[in-house]
Amino acid sequence: MRRSLTSALALLALAAPLSAQNIDALDAAALLPLAQAEGSVTVYSFTSRIGNVEEAFEAAYPGIDMIGFDMSSTEQIARITSEAQAGLAGADVIYISDAPVVLTDLLAAGLVAPYVPARLESVLDERFRSPLLAQRLSTKVLMYNEESYPDGAPVDNLWDLTTEAWTGRVIMVDPLQRGDYLDLMTEIVLQSDAMAAAYEAAFGSPITLDEGVANAGEQFIANLFANDLVLVGSTDDVNAAIGALGQDAAPIGFTSYSDRRDNEDEGWALQVANDVVPANGIVFPALLAVNPKAQNPAAARLAIDFLMGDDSDTGGAGFAPFYVAGDWATRSDIAPHPDAIPLEAFNGWIIDAETTATIRAEVADLILTLQ
């Protein structure tokens, strides 16, 4: 009892002079002894790749146990909200996508807080530093089967998907069950002007809107659903459907560009359709944040510092699980993956989370009436 009290007091003495701001300014070397005193760090992660990070982190910083929990962004949001209500500390680090909801529901409510390692200020664009730190960019874009279509993507305009040739052959995850796909639909509505121009390019005449349809983006979604769009439950179902080898006329659909890395393991032939007007889908950030009431504030910051990679070309051990074709590092000093289309040449819309959040619910309602 006395010993645990003493060590608690020692920890308190150690941590007391460090207000949140002070601790934010420390570099990894200064964080390390504090983090080692804390002993562990809990990470909620929307990707299973946290398992690999765990090993690398514990090898780099012995004495700090990283406890990673892999759960979807949607679940994290529900869990973090519940934990705050119950007064539980829960996670120290939050690694999450679904930016529109994170910013409006978590950051605005003070349930997560920003942290950007000072060493990275100069290599990160402003948009990747605030309101929350973005570690990398991920995608939900049009992909096709390169074995089935060896001459390249079978469509060059999103509106092609609404034509008879693709009736019952466009596949995606139900946007009312996965936030990323709702963000994709929302972006299409936000990009209505570009969608109108693309319509004209596809059919040669200006778009006419159905009654009750407000813009070209909404019209596209309505036509897509009317064209017997096939909905499935997860991105891996989309991947298997469009990617499986041995198909004569494989369907086409929206999924993650980076899932192409599993082609060999899974027997897929996924390829991204990059030459599509007005765009092939969305590019969105994977965010890193700290719990403002973290039990292990120093270890939390050290973990984020680690996840952002070291100063080598590929980001080193901490970033290794994310250095894959189809994910782009936000750090300007990490070299683009050699096998991937560089971000500048990639034809996806980069979402603006705050704008998306403003009409996301309306788009969800629209989709509800179409299903």
């Binding site: 949607t74 679940e75 080898l245």
Partner: protein, 567 residues
């Protein structure tokens, strides 16, 4: 003093009501409270969204519920009759196998269906049938037909369990008497057997209906590609995208609709109270001779059992060994079970037996399964006894309705309601979030209908005479419960405990929102693997759940046999 205050059943009934209020009514009141005055009501009931948000899913849900209830009665009833009342060969094996489908999580059966029947609509090479060159039409691969069939294959075991428990307690003396007085076989069935098992038939149908109506996994897996929605998939979607209030409104409406249906069943049961036939004496049932129909009926029964038990298990097992889901029976490896982490294989994931969380999850799951099964059954039996013995105006009805309410609650909504109420500290009472107690409470509440229904089906047949006699000689309520009701109800209770144990360890919907890193459970572990695309690992964990279920079933069989021998 008004007569109600002197009623002997007042205090037991009030005690039961209090427990039910804490377990069921309070969480429900919380979600009701959160939607009070919300715009969600108008949006769900009367807006341009209503058609897709409520009416179409509602129609689909009810169609599924009624069809599944009918199918389960037919199959479950047929098998129960065959096993308990006839001289069909392999009675034991059929009886054992007919309880197995319920041990297989419905999502596993749905996946197995997909492995067989899926077609080109979701791309790829399709299922085994298409691989063999058989073109599978959309209606057979996706949508309401496969959902109904898969759910019947899952829930008929419930109907079987309840009906066979009732049939095996049909008093042999009555049948003997009928035979001696020259009644025909058919007359015995319609005149004695059917009336006696009517409560069990209604119970079986209600359970199947309620289960089908709130099932999430199956319609989600098999309905989505043709954009079929039920209320529970709709509700899940709403909660997933953060439109919790609409989700709650849907949950409340789903409860209301099912309450009407199950209320009808209860009314039928309550209106026919003259089934008391078990008097603690009397011989066991007499065997009906099937004659020439013996072997054909046996073959039919075995076929039903094989298709709904062995086949999905084989597919699951194969899928936990095959690296590629498109070639289920080639290149088998044990990596997904015992492999060390290998960066070149399965994205560097080690086999499930190397996952440190597996052991913790195994412990938590077993602990939850056993404690919830016992707790729910204890509460359920007391509720059953209290509500069948005494009929106090309003109070008894309220207790009955409350004890069945959880059936109508989709698990995911139940989880949400429990977090809404017990997730935050209430006064000086600390938050339960993050403790196994929260999981145990929610699961106990969710399993109550099963417990109460098993309790009622058995208790309704226990003659009031013994109880009366004991009461007259001065035995108190608890004393009578312990030394009369419990022993007589025991065979039914073992079935009930087993049923709840397997439901708990296979449950995903309720625990998925309630579990925390400190309290992992197997089903969530399996779900995590599956949602990350690690299907082989998911199937392996599902098989672990399955093995636990089968072990529990064997233990229950043994117990029942010992009891029978003792009697």
């Amino acid at each position: 003093m008004p007569p109600i205050l002197r009623h002997p059943g007042l205090w037991p009934t009030l005690a039961v009501l209090t427990v039910l209020c804490l377990l069921v009514a309070a969480p429900l009141a919380t979600i009701l409270g959160e939607t009070l005055g919300s715009a969600a009501w108008a949006e769900v009931l009367a807006s341009r969204l209503s058609r897709n948000l409520l009416w179409r899913p509602l129609a689909t849900t009810l169609t599924i519920g009624v069809a599944v209830a009918a199918g389960c009665l037919l199959i479950g009833g047929f098998l129960a009759w065959l096993v308990t009342m006839t001289d069909v060969p392999f009675r034991r094996s059929i009886g054992f196998m007919a309880t197995l489908p319920f041990m297989i999580p419905s999502f596993a059966t749905a996946l197995a269906w997909g492995t067989m029947f899926s077609n080109g609509r979701t791309g790829g090479a399709g299922g085994m049938l298409e691989g063999l060159g058989v073109a599978v039409p959309d209606w057979l691969a996706w949508g309401i037909v496969p959902v109904i069939l898969v759910l019947i294959a899952h829930y008929y075991a419930l109907a079987f369990t309840v009906i066979s428990a009732a049939l095996s307690s049909v008093n042999g003396d009555l049948i003997d008497a009928a035979m001696m007085t020259g009644a025909s076989r058919r007359r015995i069935v319609t005149g004695i057997v059917l009336p006696v098992v009517t409560p069990a038939l209604l119970a079986g149908a209600s359970l199947a209906f309620a289960g089908a109506v709130s099932n999430f996994a199956t319609p989600a897996l098999l309905g989505l590609p043709v954009r079929m929605q039920t209320l529970s998939t709709r509700l899940f979607g709403m909660i997933e995208i953060g439109q919790t209030e609409r989700g709650y409104v849907l949950a409340i409406l789903l409860i209301a609709v099912s309450a009407v249906f199950l209320g009808l069943g209860n009314r039928l049961l309550a209106g026919r109270r003259s089934f008391a036939t078990i008097t603690g004496k009397g011989g066991r049932g007499r065997v009906m001779e099937l004659g020439r129909a013996r072997w054909p009926l046996c073959a039919l029964a075995l076929l039903i059992c094989l298709v709904t038990t062995i086949l999905p298990i084989i597919l699951l097992a194969a899928a936990s060994l095959a690296p590629m889901s498109s070639a289920l029976f080639s290149d088998w490896t044990l990596h997904y079970w015992i492999g060390e982490a290998d960066p070149a294989f399965a994205r560097g994931l080690a086999g499930i037996l190397h996952n440190p969380q597996l052991l913790t999850a195994l412990g938590v799951t077993m602990g939850l399964g056993i404690s919830v099964a016992l707790a729910a059954n204890a509460v359920g039996l007391v509720v059953a006894v209290t509500t069948t013995r005494w009929h106090l105006p309003l109070l008894t009805g309220a207790a009955t309705q409350l004890s069945f309410l959880p059936l109508l609650l989709p698990g995911i909504a139940f989880g949400a309601a429990y977090i809404a109420l017990y997730g935050a500290p209430i006064g000086s009472f600390p938050a339960l979030y993050g403790t196994p107690l929260l999981l145990a409470l929610a699961l106990t509440a969710a399993m109550l209908p099963f417990a109460v229904q098993t309790g009622r089906a058995t208790v309704a047949q226990i003659s009031g005479e013994i109880d009366e006699a004991a009461r007259i000689t001065g035995a108190g309520f608890l004393r009578r419960l312990w030394s009369i009701t419990l022993p007589l109800a025991a065979p039914g209770q073992i079935a009930g405990v087993l049923l709840i144990f397997v439901s708990v360890i296979g449950d995903l919907a309720i625990v998925v929102l309630l579990y925390t890193p400190a309290t992992p459970v197997l089903s969530v572990l399996s779900y995590r693997y599956a949602s990350d695309g690690f299907h082989q690992f998911a199937n392996a964990v599902t098989l672990v759940i399955l093995i636990l279920s089968i072990a529990a079933t064997l233990v229950a069989q043994l117990l029942r046999k010992r009891q029978r021998n003792a009697a």
